[in-house]
């Protein structure tokens, strides 16, 4: 007690900033986020760094984007980090969110067996999906209302095809597991590039369609609205959102995975508008 007081006094005298461990009322920040963020390994890295650089600790639950937004819409989390822009806008309109900031993007890739029985290689994504449906080649869908699942269903909608039948399989599992199933079944699936790069060495599927503008995958952080949910840790949520868009974190995101996979898994976008990324 006395020591703390003396320390405080010294700090006041030399006008120094207290160390990063300065205490806050509620150090625990509850984050609801997506499995691709956890499966890529970036969540663990950012979580440890956030704890080191701020007085807060992150408690993250990795579910799908749909579930993460639902948790946020009940006020059961302080902040959400997701990738489904249309659903996010609906979430904001319902008054569940406070701040919504663009953090980073990567892109989706259509992957499939090297033999490519549906002949989709090099096509644009809509033509590729039409070719898969026409040839009834097996397509594995996440089927778990995750951001990837929502994204995939939107792509199908834009092709005008309602995928159904024995060739369209809903795996209801995370991205890593879905890629394993796709490889085992010699099927096609839509994956985020990050998870694909992480799993690449262990599976026998290849990227067949990529770098097509409709395949950009954008991640936003949204703080849960404290006026609607007074119990949330608003200070902690803001600290995490500010942390994600800070210059150092953006550099960390840009370099994540480069050493291991030869290319970055995510591209930092803080400060840009959605239109810039598309």
């Amino acid at each position: 007690m006395i020591r703390a007081f003396v320390l405080l006094l010294i700090c006041a005298l030399v006008a120094c900033d207290p160390p990063a461990q300065r205490s806050v009322d509620r150090p625990e920040v509850l984050l609801a986020t997506t499995t691709s963020f956890q499966d890529s390994g970036l969540l663990d890295v950012l979580s440890a760094d956030f704890q080191k650089r701020t007085p807060y600790r992150l408690r993250a639950t990795a579910v799908g984007t749909g579930a993460a937004l639902a948790i946020g819409a009940r006020g059961d989390a302080d902040v959400v980090f997701v990738h489904a822009p249309n659903e996010e806008l609906a979430y904001m309109q319902q008054g569940n969110g406070d701040r919504r900031l663009l953090v980073m993007h990567n892109d989706f890739v259509l992957v499939g067996p090297p033999a490519d029985p549906a002949h989709v290689r090099g096509k644009n994504v809509f033509d590729a999906l039409r070719a898969i449906a026409a040839s009834q080649a097996t397509f594995i869908s996440r089927g778990d209302k995750s951001g990837t699942d929502i994204f995939e269903k939107n792509l199908w909608k834009q092709t005008g095809i309602a995928p159904a039948g024995s060739w369209y399989v809903e795996a209801a599992t995370g991205m890593g597991q879905t890629l394993t199933i796709t490889s085992e079944k010699r099927a096609y699936t839509l994956s985020d590039r990050g998870t694909f790069l992480v799993r690449q060495g262990q599976i026998e599927v290849q990227i067949l369609v990529q770098r097509d503008p409709p395949l950009i995958n954008v991640y936003h952080v949204i703080t849960v609205n404290p006026r609607k949910f007074p119990k949330v840790n608003a200070a902690g949520a803001n600290a995490f959102a500010d942390y994600l868009v800070s210059a150092e974190t953006q550099r960390l995101i840009a370099s994540f995975g480069v050493e291991k996979y030869g290319e970055p898994l995510f591209f930092p976008d803080a400060g840009k508008s959605d239109a810039d990324v598309r």
Partner: protein, 232 residues
Amino acid sequence: MDLILQGLGEAASRLVSLDPDVREATSAALAVSGIATALSVATGVPAGAWLGLSRFRGRKLLLSLVNTGMGLPPVVVGLFVAVLVWRSGPFGGLDWYCTRQAMVAAQYLLAAPTVVGLTAIAIQAIDPMLHLQLSALGATRIQMLGILVREARLPILTAAMAGFGAVISEIGASLMVGCNIKGDTRILTTAIALDTSKGEFGSAFALAFILLLLVFAVNAVTTWAQQRRRPL
């Protein structure tokens, strides 16, 4: 096949070097399941002894409820505990979602019925003559309970081990309420599932080996207890 050999090789090196991730997951699993089992023994043994000794209307119903509890699906317990400890839930004030406390609570609910049920059976299996003799010697109810529990200590040890064995290898409830946070609520089972989906089979194998070792140790203790000649 390469994948399996490579995984086993990496597992061995991680075990030998006591990899920090493996160490953290092991100590978290032991802490959570150890506390949950200790709590279920502390409450379950007296409750089981009482259930085994007393005679009252509805006892059979209660016993069959306890026996049902032995087979509680972990995901169902996980769902209930999650709904209870979410901020919007009745125990939201505790702020337990994604903490070890919530995991202990869930695992307690899974282990306690096993401890209660097996203790009740163990107490009932004691020769009824001992009962009679104890009361003839003027033992109070509490003293009687103490002596009978001591008498049945090996089957009760089996009960505790069965409870521990169930929760240490459980994943559904722990994942749902603990959130699998690295260095905190990431235990052996949830780490194995995550490493598998990340494709890190070496680490998954290493963790799986430790888990198997723990389950083996539990069963070895149980077998030893069962095969030892009962004390007079």
